[in-house]
């Protein structure tokens, strides 16, 4: 009888009991530990446990960096656990480990999941890792470092920062008479290109502009003058005319059968692009090297097309970084060693070459040499005006993304007008904002 229910509950009860037995993790104790960490002697055999999801997104790059770090004789050994779980799944796993009192020292995070770790007090400030190296602090790009801050405190140590880009099948462009060297730069150009592709064969689509969260929505919203929340940050603001225009345009593409509807867009859009059923789709720029390497056709990327009538072109920047969960002084210092290595000149140069992202460390530019000069498309994508990816505060970040995907589905399938879908989403967002107060 409902044995699965019982199993889950037994685990939860056990986990809660173990959590109750865990060590003191009050903010005061944490502050003391971190203060000690700055001056603590380091155990040369200190091991750092690092958990990273998203193996498909540059997991191999991280593995290479870890191997290089471990071989550098830094006196710290990184034990990397790399999984292909999503951000949200990785967060669930970390929360369970935290409740059991056995979290990893570092966990890979994005803006949507960082808030939950900060809200519960699990994530420790990582400013401490910069305290011992003022030179490094000066070399790091402050704007990119700021994407890991919550209320002014650095909680996510950045590894790389990525922006949305339009990935397109240059071979398909040629086949249907489009110029692959002149990808669409506006929504109307993109619609025309999508129509050309869709008309070339049945079952073929032009573009997929949406994803499984609001990452692809925020850019056109901001470009049209909209915002996710009001100036005070106390009420949602995405349900205005700008938001409705974005969803309305997407719905029109679906109605014209230029864009397919996917309930699980991340996986299905990537699969469809790989099978050449879709000629253009929005993806994170950091995925470009892997997508291009795995495709059997000419894949290129370009800046995101801008909605017609937009007075500016803005995209959200998502920073992949690491949250510090370690508490013991020696573990904190060991973790800091690895984090500092991640933004060192050689590591940043490797990351940039493998992820097509902007260098976090200015000093790495020399090491990169003519890399960007040889790839003007990388420069164009990274030159897009970017703002930090807005996420709802606290633990509601992942819940909001699910609610957003539902609203997007209702609008794209025509089950609700864009205004209605966004209004319903706004009511949920209001509750999220209130719950985090």
């Amino acid at each position: 009888m409902a044995s699965r229910t019982w199993t889950v509950l037994v685990i939860l009860v056990g986990v809660s009991l173990l959590g109750a037995c865990s060590t003191d993790d009050t903010p005061e104790a944490s502050a003391e530990n971190q203060a000690r960490a700055a001056t603590a002697a380091v155990d040369p055999a200190e091991e750092v446990e690092v958990l990273s999801g998203q193996a498909a997104q540059n997991g191999s790059v991280l593995e290479g960096l870890v191997a290089e770090f471990n071989g550098s004789g830094a006196g710290t050994e990184v034990d990397l656990e790399l999984t292909n779980q999503t951000d949200a799944e990785t967060l669930q796993r970390v929360q369970a480990a935290l409740a059991a009192g056995d979290p990893p020292d570092l966990v890979r995070v994005t803006p949507t999941t960082l808030g939950a770790l900060v809200a519960t007090g699990a994530a420790r400030p990582v400013d401490v890792c910069l305290d011992g190296d003022p030179g490094l602090r000066n070399d790091l790009v402050a704007e990119l470092l700021d994407t890991g801050r919550v209320d002014g405190t650095l909680y996510a140590w950045p590894w790389y920062s990525t922006v949305p880009a339009l990935f397109y099948d240059a071979d398909r462009f040629r086949e249907v008479g489009l110029d692959p060297d002149r990808p669409p730069s506006t929504y109307s150009e993109m619609e025309a290109a999508a129509a050309r592709v869709a008309a070339s064969a049945s079952g073929r689509f032009g573009v997929v502009l949406y994803g499984g969260n609001d990452y692809a929505f925020q850019g056109p919203l901001f470009s049209l003058g909209g915002a996710m929340v009001d100036r005070d940050g106390t009420a949602p603001a995405f349900d205005g005319a700008a938001g409705a225009e974005v969803l309305g345009f997407w719905r029109r593409l679906v109605e014209r059968e230029l864009m397919p509807f996917y309930a699980n867009p991340f996986a299905e859009a990537a699969e469809s692009f790989a099978r050449r059923e879709v000629a253009m789709y929005v993806n994170s720029s950091a995925n470009y090297p892997q997508v291009a390497a795995g495709a059997g056709f000419d894949v290129r990327m370009a800046p995101m097309p801008v909605p017609d009538g937009a007075d500016r072109a803005v995209v959200p920047a998502s920073t992949n970084g690491f949250a510090l969960l370690a508490d013991e002084p020696a573990a904190v210092e060991a973790a800091c060693r690895f984090l500092r290595y991640l933004v060192s000149e050689p590591a940043v140069a490797t990351t940039v070459r493998e992820t097509a992202t902007v260098p976090l460390n200015r000093a790495a530019e020399d090491e990169l040499g003519p890399f960007f000069a040889e790839r003007p498309d990388f420069v164009a994508v990274n030159a897009q005006q970017a703002v930090p990816w807005f996420t709802f505060p606290g633990a509601s970040g992942t819940e909001f993304q699910r609610a957003f995907t539902d609203a997007q589905t209702l609008a794209l399938t025509g089950r609700a007008r864009p205004e209605e879908a966004l209004a319903e989403l706004a009511s949920k967002a209001t509750a999220f904002l209130r719950s985090s107060e």
């Binding site: 009888m1 409902a2 044995s3 699965r4 229910t5 019982w6 889950v8 509950l9 037994v10 939860l12 009860v13 986990v15 809660s16 959590g19 109750a20 949200a88 669930q92 929360q95 369970a96 935290l98 409740a99 519960t120 007090g121 699990a122 079952g203 397919p260 509807f261 996917y262 309930a263 699980n264 099978r275 059923e277 633990a395 992942t398 819940e399 995907t405 539902d406 589905t409 209702l410 399938t413 089950r415």
Partner: protein
Amino acid sequence: MPGLATGAAAPRLVASLGPIARTDRPRLAARWVPAALTLPAFALLGVFVVGPAAASLLLALFDWNLVSGERRFVGLDLGAMAADAELRRALVNTVVYAAFTVPASVVAGLAIAVGIEALARGRAWWRTVYFLPLAATQVAMAVVWRWMFHPRTGLVDATVGGWLGLGDWLNSFHLALPALAVVGVWHQAAFCAVVFVAGLAGVPAPLREAARLDGAGRWARFRHVTWPALGPATVFATVASTVAALRVFDSVRAMTDGGPVGHTETLSFLLWRRGVQAFEVGEAAKVAIVLLGFTLVVAGVQFATVGRRLEDAGRR
């Protein structure tokens, strides 16, 4: 001392007690040995069933953050639970899924079992074939089914979908739950077939032979001899299939993730989403209570009505 047997009376008393003492020992043993033997099972039930059930009731009363350790008593607001749109939707989805899968699984399982038993040769091979869905890992099979339901290029759209004019099942608000039900029937029919094959082996051959000699045809033999004898197997297959349907999770997670817009979100999936994904253990415990209560009620009703009749028929 009054009442104490002394002198000559004592041997008589001992003699009279002797047989009693000798027979008491086995009686005591008969009473305590089974109790001692079942004690470990009861202890395990207590630890893994009763304890967690009580704990879930307790958890449902709190807003408990397992990470920070903060907990706040919120009580069990039945009105709020009844007004919980997600919970209601999950309950309805679960019932619809069960309504799709249970009758179809039992009927298909019975048909498969009867078909196999009617074969002159190759029974063992066919039994193995139909047992395979049950032996396969459900999550892995659900992933395979997801590919088969892939829009346009998947096997389902390319064949059945084309004939019926239906497509893109997993992205459809109307077809996603039936698609999951198809997978559920495929899996559960195998279980029912195994149960019915075992049940058919217990049907007395002389009865069937007598019916045949009396001139009963195939259908009459099945209806009046085989089917009544399968009563207990039918009850078991129905109740077990119902419980499996009410707690469906694996295929939902692997194929639709509850979507589109919650149209395939079942009670088990909602429990997981709230407890594991959102880490709201109190809210998850409330769903667990609803799931447990609903399962108990459905199983109880099945036993008390059709189940009893079929079992009685089987005993005759």
